[in-house]
């Protein structure tokens, strides 16, 4: 299962999406302002796979070294493949 999050860490929607992924042992994909979740120490203890949209990261001036290790950067094609290959996709929080 994949949960897509577009709201920033400072929002209840964003936090709700991350909590759902944690509770359901799902993977996470961050787009738009959700990419701020990818910055270091904002995803403590998340065990699933996490993905972040490259275009939205660059647009917001977030540097590669700012991103938590283990979070995979993908492009739009990668996002489409991710959604196509998952059995269930839920979003956008």
């Amino acid at each position: 299962m994949l949960v897509i999050v577009k709201n920033s860490p400072g929002t209840s929607d964003g936090k709700r999406g991350v909590k759902l992924a944690r509770d359901m042992a799902a993977d996470l994909c961050f787009v738009q302002n959700g990419v701020y979740f990818g910055q270091r120490e904002r995803l403590e203890g998340f065990c699933g796979s996490a993905y972040i949209l490259d275009e939205d990261v660059r647009l917001r001036g977030i540097r590669g070294e700012d991103i938590e290790k283990g979070i995979k950067t993908i492009d739009y094609d990668g996002l489409v493949d991710l959604m196509a290959n998952e059995d269930k996709v839920i979003g956008i929080f």
Partner: protein, 117 residues
């Protein structure tokens, strides 16, 4: 007409608030109004250096913010919010003044009009 204080609380690109705040600020100084653009909460991310819009089709809001400063908009960023967003002074666009809560309160008190984005 007095000063207009524009408070931006939202991060750029996720919605139109940041772009609208900068557009209104520019419009104000173009009409020779005195504009204070105050960035708080995730609004301080508007002043983050290194925004790369290539291939996205978005208007680069870092450039727009610099243009507004050149036009005469006074831009302030809340010190606590800057720290909460894991940024340092070196990450902030030149010309943006980092201030504390008391200084922001003073700016708003002095302003005749306050607009919140």
């Amino acid at each position: 007409m007095g000063t207009i204080a524009m408070i931006l609380r939202r991060s750029p690109y996720g919605d139109i608030n940041a772009a609208e705040a900068v557009r209104h600020a520019m419009g104000g100084v173009a009409d020779e109004l005195s504009i204070d653009l105050i960035l708080v909460d995730s609004g301080v991310l508007l002043a983050k250096k290194g925004q790369d819009d290539s291939g996205t089709g978005y208007t680069n809001l870092e450039s727009a913010l610099k243009d507004s400063i050149d036009m005469g908009v006074e831009v302030y960023a809340d010190k606590l919010s800057v720290r909460e967003q894991d940024m340092e002074t070196a990450d902030i666009v030149d010309g943006v003044k980092i201030v504390n809560g008391a200084e922001i309160a003073e700016l708003i008190k002095e302003a005749k009009t306050t607009m919140i984005f």
